[in-house]
């Protein structure tokens, strides 16, 4: 039979450890010692509240509550004095805007209620680069607007701290300092705003000594340098994964972080989804060190050490006929991938996450060989969102040390956090005469500055963006500035003596420079349309010359190999020239550099987490509470290490004779702390055994170890940015080839990992169903056998065996379809659900007790690559060995499946029958309704839920002081983000996914008012709407034309735990792997 694959959420479940069984057997992790306490006389007497006091309090509170209830509360209603024309109380307005923080770019729609932004949604304009998609970081960005830690006005250094000053006073003092400055530098993250660039130019006009340095914490300078060498222009091309049949990634986490992850995810989903009519999907190979989100989705994934990445690239180049000799690293696998690339005939692409120009240059050669340029890589549409120039940053430090620069203005950059130690920025900071920051928070750099002139948050600010050639975006404010902040550009202009307000300035720029390229003759039409749409695509500034087969004149000759084919030239219509000072590199130099790279015993990869990214938003509680897609850890950073290495290091104090199976009893509670030394920088962090991590390597995420927010955020993890190195080519290296790792220090670190929380029982095909593409092509039902039950009437389909009568669904029957093949596990839906449904943040301590409140979670299952059929076929293993091997954790390359799980809205719901007060029951539209005000908190429903999706409010999270700095709704400011259409639940009630019933009701009302049936797609849940890969589809099964009804008929459809007969309204589509072997078998 087919259902023999074992799935496991974490190592402790795999090994059926004591801790794990303790956790999943009882509903709540923590043991509550009620009886011991009451039965213990001395404990009772020691307690500050004895029995008599307790009864007194009880009596008093009863009386007080009764009296309070008698009093008529007076509710005030304060209408507008002058109601703004566009605001209708109770109706949401949407404003197109743009999110760009120097790392993530996304065109968004801001949902506002009564003038308050409450939710971010993707801009679904056809011109938007992100095509309506968002990710977790963009979804969460609305919360930071209401962060009470934001600076409330201009600050000036006084003593050890800062004190607020009037803007005029600050301006005067700053102007005086600037006038005396010997040399000024503006250090910013990538700026793609043409108006801002003009403002900086104007500032330069006034202060001639000014230089502008682009410094990105996560740099792509290696790519810029390689492309400068290949194409004669420092630029990053646009990738079109939706044109690819073979995608090979060398350490590029392109679904979560790399260049334009939201866009890539949507493109990726287009070539990965299969259906009855389209049974082809792209094949995805991943060579990587850590198990990244992208790697977890790869069909075939190969572990490489960072030091081997360049050699793999060389191997690939050799394999596709690049005329270099292949080093002996993973030669078999590399040769296979190279064959696959060649066979794709131009419909292939190689992506590389390394910041070493040598590797990137080799990758460029591979892409040329396989004909990717013009097909999957578009050099004629340069992407401008990453322009960091590492060489210029190093140069700046030199200038500061020599005294040539004595004044620095920091704009959206935080080098005190993110600069590598090797750069020596910290000491250089001390030598400056004047430091000015535009930071909105008192971050690491701002706290060292003499003046902090806080910029507006992006939802309060005007800006324009030019993320890609001919692509323009406007960023319009969705709320008036909450505090006395000021546009950074306006500050620059003020100091330069220009009093124009920033809005007018942008409008003028567009009037003077852009209208000519639009199809509008009239400026106000052009401007209003652009503000309304958020995005506009303009005609090229210069007539483009696309795909010039000849190399651009004067470009450095890089290709010394005779076999190299002519390069595709960059379009000469590029409107931004990226200022890049890193020089070029030749292929020969690259090849010889890469051939000799050697790594130490342990190597380190410094990476961005899917939730936290480069750390811009690490003070955001929604992102901190979102479990990392791979490790499922919240509120922390840690060292990821292969479990075999963990065993070798004898961590967790447990030794196993075989050296393979380590007991991970403690792993979900406390972690062993080790100290790690890289590039002369030492940190102490807990070790997380991570299957899939390359042996002999460790991974640490950036964005932690923050200072200056609040005690909760500041206490999280350590900052690893200083360990970033500078490589021989002058770019920052996020891989360290030799690090020293200590043995266990004896310290233990408590961890909040959710991987085995809310575990579904049964580790087989009832939860996850998967198959291979080859099988699917043969048989539509591959991997998805029909479930039958033995009854007295003989074998019966599960759906026909039931104890309950079915109910009518005369009007609608709402349902969710989740395509496991499209889901990449990124967590955007989890954060979107938080925002839409006012889900409480509970903090690390509560997460440790399995009390996270997320209405939807993404279960991440690992499984072994040993399967029964394969073993039987080959006959290599005995039965005992086979079963042992099937349970083998595959430390190196576990298969990963993500499964979003929310309330399944069972039509025969087990929770409904056990509620003593009928607080949960079923609607005639198929929804499992939860009525908070009726709930008395027995928690029977949660006990009886087979999917473990019900959440109990243990505390009043928005009021109880313990959740200060954790729950954003603790202060009035944080409460502004709450969705007024959804009740904020109080202590003692159960809650769960409502299938966004508020959106359903609103959509139905619109349809009723219009006198039509709701159109398919006009109502959507928050999770489905935010999904970058469209993995979640919401709709009405009674509407035969709906997408969801069509999917319901698909033979890939299955229900989780179908055999228990609860008839869920949420169903899944089998996962399909594009693998030749039977790893993902029937």
């Amino acid at each position: 039979m087919a259902n023999e694959t074992k799935y496991w959420k974490g190592l402790s479940q795999l090994n059926n450890e004591k801790e794990f069984s303790k956790k999943h057997d009882s509903e709540f992790a923590e043991y509550i010692p009620v009886e011991e306490f009451i039965g213990n006389k001395s404990a009772m007497e020691d307690s500050s509240t004895n029995r008599r006091d307790f009864l007194k309090f009880l009596g008093f509170s009863t009386v007080a509550a009764t009296l309070a209830a008698c009093e008529a509360p007076v509710t005030k209603a304060v209408p507008y004095v002058n109601r703004p024309e566009e605001i209708t109380p109770g109706v949401a307005n949407y404003y197109a805007s743009t999110y760009f923080d120097g790392n993530d770019y996304c065109s968004v729609l801001v949902k506002t209620r009564e003038g308050r932004p409450i939710k971010i949604e993707g801009n679904d304009s056809p011109d938007a680069i992100n095509m309506g998609a968002t990710n977790a970081r963009v979804q969460a960005s609305v919360l930071s607007l209401y962060d009470s830690n934001r600076l409330k006005g201009a600050m000036m250094k006084s003593g050890n701290g800062h004190s607020e000053v009037k803007w005029e006073d600050a301006d005067e003092k700053i102007k005086a300092r600037l006038a005396q400055a010997k040399g000024i530098a503006i250090v910013s993250s990538t700026i793609i705003s043409p108006s801002t660039k003009q403002a900086i130019a104007e500032f330069k006009g006034k202060y001639a000594s000014t230089r502008h340095v682009t410094y990105d914490a996560i740099s792509y300078a290696g790519m810029l340098k390689a492309n400068l060498s290949t194409f004669g222009a420092a630029m990053i091309p646009t990738y079109r994964l939706d044109n690819a049949q073979v995608i090979v990634s060398l350490g590029a986490d392109f679904l979560a972080n790399w260049i334009s992850p939201i866009e890539h995810a949507r493109q990726y989903s287009k070539v990965r989804k299969v259906s009855k009519d389209n049974r082809e999907m792209a094949k995805h190979y991943q060579f990587e060190t850590i198990l990244s989100l992208t790697g977890a989705n790869a069909d075939e994934r190969f572990n490489v050490k960072p030091s081997q990445l360049g050699q793999v690239a060389l191997g690939l180049l050799a394999g596709v006929g690049g005329g270099v000799s292949a080093p002996n690293v993973l030669s078999k696998e590399v040769a296979k991938v190279a064959e696959s690339l060649k066979a794709a005939n131009g419909k292939a692409v190689v992506l590389c996450g390394s910041n070493d120009p040598a590797v990137q240059l080799v990758v460029n050669q591979i892409n040329q060989k396989i004909g990717a340029y013009g097909s999957t890589i578009r050099t004629d549409i340069p992407d401008y969102t990453h322009q960091g120039d590492d060489t210029a940053v190093a140069k700046l430090v030199e200038y500061i040390n020599s005294g040539a620069v004595d004044t620095v203005i920091f704009y959206n950059s935080n080098p005190a956090l993110s600069a590598p130690k090797a750069l020596g920025f910290e000491s250089a900071m001390g030598k400056l005469a004047t430091r000015i920051s535009f930071a909105g928070w008192m971050d690491e750099t701002a706290s060292k500055c003499d003046f902090v002139c806080p910029d507006h948050y992006y939802l309060e600010a005007w800006n324009d963006h030019n993320p890609r050639n001919n692509h323009y975006n406007l960023q319009q404010p969705a709320i008036r500035p909450l505090f006395k902040t000021r546009h950074a550009q306006e500050s620059l202009l003020t100091w330069a003596g220009n009093k124009t307000d920033w809005h007018t300035y942008i409008a003028n720029y567009w009037k003077n420079n852009l209208i000519g390229r639009s199809k509008f003759g009239d400026f106000s039409t052009f401007w209003n349309k652009s503000v309304h749409d958020g995005v506009v695509v303009l005609a090229p500034a210069v007539a483009p010359v696309v795909e010039d087969p000849k190399p651009a004149a004067g470009k450095p000759v890089t290709d010394t190999t005779a076999t190299a084919e002519p390069v595709v030239a960059v379009t000469n219509s590029a409107e931004q020239t990226i200022s890049f000072t890193g020089g070029t590199i030749t292929l020969d130099a690259a090849v010889s550099q890469l051939s000799v790279v050697k790594g130490g015993k342990y190597e380190l990869v410094i990476y961005q987490k899917t939730g936290i990214g480069n750390g811009n938003q690490s003070s955001n509680p929604w992102l901190q509470e979102m479990p990392d897609p791979i490790s499922k850890i919240t509120w922390d950073n840690y060292i990821t290490m292969n479990p075999a290495d963990v065993a070798e290091k004898k961590l967790f104090g447990v030794e196993d004779g075989s050296g393979m199976m380590v007991r991970f009893d403690q792993m979900e509670d406390e972690l062993d702390v080790v100290s790690i030394k890289a590039n002369g920088y030492e940190v102490k962090l807990p070790v997380w055994p991570q299957p899939g991590q390359t042996r002999g390597t460790v991974g640490i995420a950036v964005g932690y170890g923050r200072k200056g927010y609040n005690e909760v955020i500041d206490s999280l993890g350590q900052n690893i940015y200083p360990a970033v190195g500078l490589n021989a080519n002058g770019t920052m290296s996020y891989e360290v080839f030799d690090v020293a790792i200590s043995d266990a220090t004896g310290e233990r670190h408590p961890i909040a990992a959710t991987q085995t929380h809310h575990t579904l029982m049964g580790r087989n095909k009832d939860i996850i169903r998967e198959t291979t593409l080859a099988e699917y092509k043969k048989d539509e039902r591959a991997g998805n056998p029909l479930n039958t039950l033995h009854t007295y009437k003989g074998e019966q389909m599960v759906e026909n065996v039931t104890l309950w009568n079915d109910f009518e669904r005369p009007n609608h029957q709402w349902a969710l379809a989740i395509d496991l093949n499209a889901c990449i596990g990124c967590g955007a839906c989890v954060v979107a659900c938080n925002a839409e449904n006012n889900v409480s943040v509970v903090g690390k301590e509560e997460v440790r007790k399995s009390r996270e409140m997320h209405w939807m979670r993404i279960d991440r299952y690992f499984s072994s690559d040993t399967v029964k059929e394969k073993v039987e076929e080959t006959g290599e293993m005995g039965t005992m060995a086979m079963y042992r091997s099937m349970e083998n954790p595959s430390f190196d390359n576990p298969k990963v499946v993500f499964q979003p799980l929310m309330c399944q809205h069972c039509n025969h719901a087990p929770c409904e029958t056990v509620c003593p007060v009928l607080a949960t029951n079923h609607s005639s539209e198929g929804l499992n309704q939860m009525t908070y005000n009726r709930c008395v908190g027995t928690r029977y429903c949660a006990n009886n839920c087979p999917y473990k999706v019900r959440r109990f409010n243990w505390f009043n999270y928005v009021e109880y002081h313990r959740f200060k700095n954790i729950n954003p709704a603790q202060d009035d400011l944080g409460r502004m983000v709450l969705n007024p259409d959804v009740t904020v639940r109080s202590r003692g009630v159960m809650e769960k996914c409502s299938m966004c019933v508020q959106r359903i009701q609103a959509g139905k009302l619109e349809a009723k008012k219009a006198g039509v049936r709701p159109k398919d797609g006009s109502i959507n849940t928050a999770c489905a709407q935010s999904c970058p890969t469209n993995a979640i589809t919401f709709g009405d099964l009674n509407d035969q034309q709906s997408k969801v009804a069509e999917m319901e008929q698909d033979s890939r459809k299955y229900e989780v735990l179908e055999v228990i007969g609860v008839k869920p309204s949420v169903f899944y589509m089998t996962k399909i792997w594009n693998r030749e072997d039977e790893n993902a078998h029937l």
């Binding site: 209830a69 008698c70 008529a72 509360p73 007076v74 509710t75 005030k76 209603a77 304060v78 209408p79 507008y80 004095v81 002058n82 109601r83 209708t88 109380p89 109770g90 109706v91 005369p810 009007n811 029951n921 609607s923 005639s924 539209e925 929804l927 309704q929 939860m930 009525t931 908070y932 005000n933 009726r934 259409d981 959804v982 009740t983 904020v984 409502s994 019933v997 508020q998 009701q1001 139905k1004 009302l1005 349809a1007 009723k1008 008012k1009 219009a1010 006198g1011 039509v1012 049936r1013």
Partner: protein, 431 residues
Amino acid sequence: MKGLWHNVQSTRFVVLLSLAITLLVSSPISAQDGAAALDGKKLFKTNCASCHYASDKKGTGPGLKGVLGRIPDGDWKYRWVRNSQEVIKSGDAYANKIFKEFNNSVMTNFGSLSDAEIDAILTYADKGETPPPPPGGAVVTVGGEAKQEPVNNTFLLIIVLVLLIILIAVLRFAKINLKNAVNEKEGRPDEPALPFLDAARKWMNENKRIVAVIGLFLVGGLVVNGWYMLKDVGVYAHEEKPGEWKGYKPSQPINFSHKIHAGDNGIDCKYCHSTVEKSKTASIPSANVCMNCHKVISETANPGSKEEIAKIYEAVGFDPAANAYTKPQKPIRWNKVHVLPDHVYFSHQQHVVVGKQECETCHGNVKEMTVAEQQRPLTMGWCINCHRETNVAMEDNGYYTELHAKMKEKYKGQPITVSMVGGIECARCHY
């Protein structure tokens, strides 16, 4: 309603529906005076009074007393009323002068008024209207309190109770005196007069059964009454008499009378509560909506009206003397009358637009309310009852076509109520 015209006549009070002006005169048609004067006044109130006074006072436009003497002769007046901008553009000197004098405010076009109607209006306005008598004068206000307070039963009961207590005390006093007299006569020493409480205790000791029965009744009565009282906690209403609700009636920062606005002057509810068809909330009108009319109406015959209207001016920062918004704004903090708990999602547009319900169904007879009050209990039981009894407005709504056919078949011709289509399910209101 019978007082409406009296009100209008004596107070210059105006019905505000649109804007009008007229400046011309031809030969006065004295023959038509009787009917035309009445007609003219009505027309003036309907069309012109929101911008013009029929006196010397200036509104948005000029006061129209003596207008016939000022304006050019001929058909100028008709042309002006029907399309003043055209007259101005034609270069007419007087038209331009007036236009300029009143800050270039464009007068609404009244193309539908006939020559005779325009004449009637101007004839009425030309004569002018006697200004309203000062507040507190002889004129009896009609819009004020009309209902007589019901006789207070509680007060009568208390009087009876006090009388009974006095009677008991007197009788006891007499009894003690009589007993003492008897004792004296029989030569027995006076019984020490027990204090009242001791006496009562003694009596209770001797009559335990009676006490027990009385006690039972008392406790029972308390429990039953307490139970019913609890049901009203937080509801502000109780069912003393069926159909009549003793409602929550908070005082308001401005003594705004729905009776005057919606009742006497017949202003549509939706004119002020304008979002009722667009949003979940009907919305309390913003002060700028009040100013649509009260920019002109600063005072009426109702006592205190000037002070109350001045509160609107204070809120919007309006300076009536300068006729300009120059002062700081201060939002009005109303006391909310109809309060639903936070965990209830109630949508006005669902009920008014889709359900075609009248405002009165839930808000009672607002047109008769001098002070807004809650006349319906707004409890969940009350909502559910209504949903059980009210038919869904399914006809002519494409959303329901299919459902209606199914339901008709299922319920065999019974009317389809809201509850039959799931209208009493929890998640319709609670989420």
